[in-house]
Symmetry: C2
Subunit: 246 residues, 2 copies
């Protein structure tokens, strides 16, 4: 059954990201997946592999958002502390999941060691989310989804969202591309923003792009309101503008 | 004169990032620039274009870190609220910077409008950082550097760090690539981690990479300690390993 959620937060975990050794690739993928199901991603925090730091952050984000997604820190080695941190955040023990341990035993057989079984550790009381495409369970502790950091595996998990969580209404977006600069657009934008308070209006200058100079976006959950704001803006533009509407 | 700083935080601002319309490109560039001058990036937060949210976050990050970098929200339009938020964070007024207003007047001449002059707004008491390559000033309010969101312009600002801030010592990194999997590496890593507490050891599995299966990293400010930890790990590896050391 689909749970209606309004707000989401993400906690991206890993020393390698903060040292610049690796560029995070998961956030934008998560942001798009949430947007597609109508959930607003409100806040992202990126922290080091410190269990107490992660636990504090999980507790705070879970308290202030409907749903939280963590990325990273779920392998078997010493620097994988997310499961312990999520357990700590909720005052839960870490236990061995019987179904996960059974899957590991079936997969590794005689080669199974302590290192493999660490992959079966979960906070006590966590749910295990699976579907036909994603057989390895995803740990969901209360409103916190624990996702892996490896981008290819992170992406594989996102289809789990569909059918489980959704926003109250889908988001609707329009975009207008112009060859005007922001200082000249400002008075026009101010008029549209003042008259269409229910629509989020964004202005994004480009840098040496041949096709346009500023992209304007109109976003909301009410398609008619978004269309009205966008149309009102376009009507204010001088002759020859806009370059493109999407 | 170079200021010695230990910890840094980043605040990445923009609705377009949290909605997934745009992938952030500035964080990894900042992380690498800080790493190169020996400063530890400890925390990154990404928030929407809300002035009070940004102000609260700036205040908290500035209190808990030696230096803070913001990215985004510094243009002339209604959704550019970072200058107001940084001022609010420190209880400062927003004033027009005379040198910045003069540069804008010289550049735009008769075309100068109110929209252009908004680019000269700064929190009262802010310093203006410039160098020969970056003539347009960068606002630095106490320990908060206000950087633009456009990736090409963000990058242009980073040379300003050199000679202004640096860590107490440079960071030293070693990397070892193996064809072993994390569960099998775990006991070896645990021994190295236990014996070399002053070195940060990371383990990063790859996903279908032909050249290796797990990358191990050894990081610290003491080059000898890093080399000792790395060598100790390599000595524990079975015959035929590692694939590569960097």
């Amino acid at each position: 059954m689909t749970q209606i959620v309004h707000t989401a937060a993400a906690l991206i975990i890993g020393n390698e990201l903060l040292s610049g050794k690796v560029a995070d690739a998961n956030l934008v993928v998560l942001a798009r997946a949430l947007r597609a199901v109508g959930v607003e991603l409100r806040r992202v925090v990126m922290v080091l592999d410190h269990v107490q730091t992660i636990a504090d952050e999980v507790r705070e984000l879970a308290r202030t958002h409907d749903v939280v997604f963590t990325s990273g820190g779920v392998g078997p080695t010493h620097d994988d502390v997310t499961i312990d941190a999520v357990a700590l955040a909720f005052g839960a023990e870490v236990v061995e999941s019987e179904p996960m341990a059974a899957m590991l035993r079936a997969h590794y057989g005689a080669a199974l060691g302590e290192g493999h079984l660490r992959m079966a550790r979960v906070p006590a009381g966590a749910e295990l989310a699976t579907n036909d495409e994603v057989r390895w369970p995803t740990v969901v502790m209360r409103n916190v989804w624990v996702l892996p950091g490896i981008p290819e595996v992170f992406r594989m998990k996102l289809p789990l969202l569909r059918g489980r969580i959704a926003g109250p209404e889908p988001f609707v977006s329009r975009a207008v591309y112009t060859n005007l600069d922001e200082p000249d657009l400002k008075p026009l934008l101010d008029r549209v923003v003042a008259a269409h308070a229910d629509v989020e209006v964004g202005s994004y200058p480009t840098w040496r792009d041949a096709a346009y100079r500023t992209k304007l976006t109109f976003d909301g959950r009410d398609a008619d309101a978004v269309a009205r704001a966008c149309d009102a803006f376009v009507a204010l533009l001088p002759h020859g503008e806009p370059q493109r509407i999407e």
